[in-house]
């Protein structure tokens, strides 16, 4: 029972992080029609950012707060230099961001070497939950994840900017014809999406080993989450991430971590094949 509770908590943790990553990816895709293959690398940059800020002597939670902003700024630069030159060419966005991913990974190899680093978790101790001790830091990560997701929802559904963003997702051309500044929205969107990945990476930093390939394993599960959940909504990718991340945690716990990814990807491919519009399906405008 205690083991089970810990498992559920760890699973929720993994699911929430995947939700942050998928949400960023889905927002970038939904608003900009850009398939960002470098999304995992922005997560990796979040890890290195925490590492570097810690080395500069900043307290952990300051590093955690600053890292998404730093990664968002890098995203902004990437958008300005690269991404905006590939608009209207969906396949080319895959290629361009694939090249970007290569560059970001290799830059980290050149700066920090190919080896891995660790960041010490903040000393926040553990609490007893359901009869067994559980690290408080993991609870904080969950809280940050939930707060970010809620804030994103509030932004999208309670502000005029969010209204403009939803209009662009639904019909980019018409939104532009109403005077919505799509150029500025694109910049903000890419920075925000990258920032979400950076936040996920920063939060994960003390729990994983940090190396240039740290982001590599994320982009495929995140895309599968989006496709499983369905495009064109904000809740779709979250539901997809819950399914993908949850199944992954369950398989890892009850069968073996070796087979988890295999099972999850296969299941996701099957779901995508059976429900090409995703589980939270919605009629997309013909484009």
């Amino acid at each position: 029972m205690q083991q089970f509770a810990t498992m559920i908590l760890d699973g929720s943790n993994a699911v929430l992080v995947l939700m942050l990553v998928s949400l960023g990816l889905a927002i970038i895709f939904g608003l900009m029609n850009v398939i960002n293959m470098a999304h995992g690398e922005f997560l990796m940059l979040g890890c290195y950012s925490v590492l570097e800020l810690r080395n500069l002597g900043l307290p952990f939670f300051v590093a955690l707060g600053l890292s998404p902003l730093i990664v968002a700024a890098i995203g902004l630069v990437a958008e300005e230099i690269l991404i905006r030159r590939t608009y209207h060419r969906l396949i080319d966005t895959i290629l361009a961001t694939w090249g970007l991913a290569l560059i970001l990974r290799q830059s980290m190899v050149l700066i920090y070497g190919p080896g891995s680093y660790a960041v010490a978790p903040p000393e926040v101790g553990a609490v007893v939950l359901f009869g067994s001790p559980y690290p408080v830091y993991r609870l904080i990560v969950m809280a940050v994840g939930i707060a970010t997701i809620v804030a994103t929802f509030l932004f999208f559904f309670r502000t005029r900017w969010g209204l403009a963003a939803r209009a662009v997702i639904a019909n980019r051309e018409m939104a532009a014809c109403l005077g919505i500044n799509t150029r500025r929205l694109d910049r903000v969107t890419f920075a925000f999406g990258s920032g979400l990945a950076g936040l996920a990476g920063a939060a994960m930093a003390p729990m994983i080993s940090i190396d240039p390939n740290a982001g590599l394993g994320w982009v495929v599960p995140a895309f599968l989450s989006i496709l499983v959940g369905g495009l064109g909504t904000i809740s779709g990718p979250l539901i997809g991430a819950a399914g993908v991340g949850g199944l992954d945690s369950l398989t890892a716990a009850f069968a073996s971590p070796v087979w988890a990814q295999l099972v999850v990807f296969t299941a996701a491919i099957l779901v995508i094949r059976l429900f090409p519009n995703g589980l939270v399906s919605r009629r997309r405008r013909e484009a």
Binding site: I35, L95, W98, G99, L216, L224
Partner: protein, 338 residues
């Protein structure tokens, strides 16, 4: 009759490669033998992506299947048939099995309301990760280490014959095969099947309304692309000597995408030259600039996507075509000269 610029470039490249061993050492030639195998792989993706409009982001699966099948056959690993070691059978089995696998994957993804465009790319990429995991976790296939000491091409019916050991001989055999593959695939592209496929790429609905069975066309294209990738994998492993899970999954799938995009997806010759060019640069530059090479490749790739969306050689072919068309127009406008 004027030759298309793509054909012209192909002939110039072929002649250069035929003459090249006169000026380079035999170990450079041996490297190029491997590059030619990669070039066949690139041609298979260019056919699928450029001609049929089907983006396979996990194309290394079929290359890997070909390489593993060839290794299993020539290493005598088939259960119950330890004496079977035929290179010939290996090639046939590699082509057939990878082709059937690709056809099955194609059927799964394309039948009824199929998966299209960029999403096909994502699911094929996920599939490549799955297959890579399977290979890593299958001890019969050597797990993480893969299969080693795969013999070179053996001309005997069931091994035992003369081996294609000499790098120069292997070089010319591979060059020959590459040229034949490109010529054959060009014929396929111009056949009624190939033309129907091209019309499907341009507009699926219109192709369907013209009476083409779009799903079946795409499945066949996927099978052909897979079979060709399997052939390249089989040829690769006879020269490289070993096969590992990295050949069947994410990494090589990413590589081949870059070669084809950088070379030019619209012309088979451009894709082949892209593969050869990148591999050659990589071998030269990774010594010279070390870890900065992938950085340079990434930057080059990004630049090419922005500046030459048709790829470097693809753009060159397109411009040459335009230039020659204008010149022909000018000379015909100048009137017939005697």
């Amino acid at each position: 009759m004027r030759l298309p610029s793509a054909t012209l470039l192909g002939i110039v490249a072929l002649v250069s490669f035929v003459l090249m061993p006169l000026v380079v050492s035999s170990w450079v030639a041996a490297d190029f033998g491997v590059y030619f195998a990669y070039a066949i792989f690139a041609v298979s993706l260019a056919f699928l992506w450029g001609h049929a409009g089907l983006l396979s982001l996990g194309h290394a699966v079929y290359f890997g299947i070909g390489a593993y099948v060839m290794s299993i056959v020539t290493l005598g690993m088939i259960p119950g048939l330890p004496d079977l070691r035929s290179t010939w059978l290996g090639v046939v089995a590699a082509v057939v099995i990878s082709g059937v696998a690709a056809g099955a994957v194609g059927w799964f993804f394309f039948a009824s309301r199929g998966i299209k465009g960029a999403f096909l790319g994502i699911v094929t990429l996920a599939l490549a990760v799955v297959v890579e995991r399977l290979a890593i976790n299958t001890s019969w296939l050597g797990g993480m280490n893969g299969l080693m000491s795969v013999p070179p091409i053996n001309l005997g019916l069931n091994g035992g014959g003369p081996e294609l050991y000499d790098p120069l001989a292997a070089y010319y055999v591979m060059l020959c095969l590459l040229a034949i593959v490109i010529a054959l695939m060009l014929l396929v592209e111009r056949s009624p099947f190939g033309l129907a496929l091209a019309s499907t790429r341009e507009n699926e609905l219109r192709a369907a309304s013209l009476g083409h069975n779009v799903t079946w066309l795409k499945i066949r294209a996927f099978a052909i692309g897979g079979a060709l990738a399997g052939l390249s994998g089989a040829l690769f492993v006879t020269q490289f000597g070993f096969v590992s899970p990295s050949l069947i999954g994410f990494a090589l799938s990413a590589d081949v995408l870059i070669w084809v995009a950088l070379g030019g997806r619209d012309f088979l010759v451009a894709a082949a030259l892209g593969a050869i060019g990148v591999r050659y640069l990589e071998s030269r530059l990774s010594d010279a600039i070390g870890a900065a090479w992938p950085l340079a490749l990434g930057a080059l790739f990004m630049l090419s996507v922005i500046l030459f969306p048709k790829g470097v050689f693809g753009e060159a072919i397109a411009r040459l075509d335009g230039f020659r068309a204008r010149r022909a127009e000018r000379s015909s406008a100048a009137g017939p000269t005697t």
